[in-house]
Symmetry: C2
């Protein structure tokens, strides 16, 4: 039996988070939220202002959650890689909320704790000044960009025509192995790790 507690700001935010996490921001309508909470639509306004303010609050919570990042491993390169992997995992766990953070232009703020951790490892690797800043920024772009691309790919419905349809042996300029590679879905974990390691090895421990 559900005991109906008094409505509270926290309860509104939790219910809203659940709706957005499960079905995306489009599913968050004030009327649906009110139905979920068993209150009048307008009661929500008393607690959180309006829909925009509600979303702002969810975004703020997400930024906080992304802030909890710490490096693991022995060498600076290993520790930087661990930050990259942890970041990707956290970003992927809440795609809709991350998209809201992006929309509000708060990615930079969200990434700051990770940026700090990466700067620490760049320093440990002997990088200083502009070189350190550029290495960290390149890696940040790499990580965030990768997650954005793969999220898009996952969300993608069955595509026609898609890579498997278009990459036959013929179109691949007499390279059947290449056609086979493109026909299969890429292993994103490997692709991410490889490209991150590439950036780290060339900028962290490259020729200097």
């Amino acid at each position: 039996m559900v005991v109906k507690d008094a409505l509270s700001r926290g309860a509104v935010l939790d219910a809203a988070t659940e709706l957005v996490r499960a079905h995306g921001p489009g599913a968050l309508t004030m009327r649906r939220l009110a139905a979920e909470l068993g209150c009048a639509v307008t009661a929500i306004y008393w607690h959180v202002g309006n829909r925009e303010a509600l979303l702002d609050e969810l975004v703020a919570r997400t930024v906080e959650e992304l802030g909890e990042i710490r490096a693991e491993g022995r060498t600076p390169a290993e520790r930087a890689e661990s930050v990259a992997l942890a970041l990707r995992r956290k970003l992927r766990a809440r795609p809709h909320l991350i998209a809201l953070v992006h929309e509000r232009g708060l990615t930079e703020l969200m990434m700051l704790p990770a940026q700090r951790a990466l700067v620490h490892e760049a320093h440990a690797a002997g990088l200083r000044g502009t070189a350190a800043a550029e290495a960290v920024r390149a890696l940040q772009f790499q990580i965030v960009g990768f997650v954005l691309v793969e999220r898009n790919r996952e969300r993608a419905p069955a595509q026609y025509p898609g890579e498997p349809d278009l990459w036959t042996a013929e179109t691949a300029e007499q390279d059947p192995e290449l056609a086979t590679s493109f026909a299969a879905a890429p292993d994103l974990d490997t692709l991410f790790r490889t490209s991150v390691r590439g950036v780290i090895s060339s900028l962290w421990e490259g020729d200097r």
Copy 2:
């Protein structure tokens, strides 16, 4: 004096494209579009079905426009880089429409002509099979990811606290030059060119 032509499918699509290009998909309401065209709201439905079908049509047009890609330069590496630069330029020229392509999961299809051009250059550089496919895919992720990240950055409103606020000499672990670097906005053109060249040089003409 504006002569009112008969309404046509093309006119509807052009007006819709203009609205989306200028103010984003949120600005595309059937009522506003009708006002723009000087017709009844429902006349639009006769020509293009409904709002979703209209957006699908805009997306299809965008995919076609992105298909016109050709490589320039002498060496395969130069030509691959020219594809990357052209792609970034095209993607940046129509951010709202590209976002719609992403939403509909058609990025893969949109990228195919560029992918073909890159495969050609990978082959010219002597790469074959899986190695060629992986090199091309890594570069694709790099390009699309970069554009997604920089678009987000541009859209970002003034952030508080932002990088300039948070990166003082103190927080930068006694590295004032690093603090200065983070306080300034990155040169995105340079950052893009550098990271693309990194990927190309390591995968196209790397140690093999």
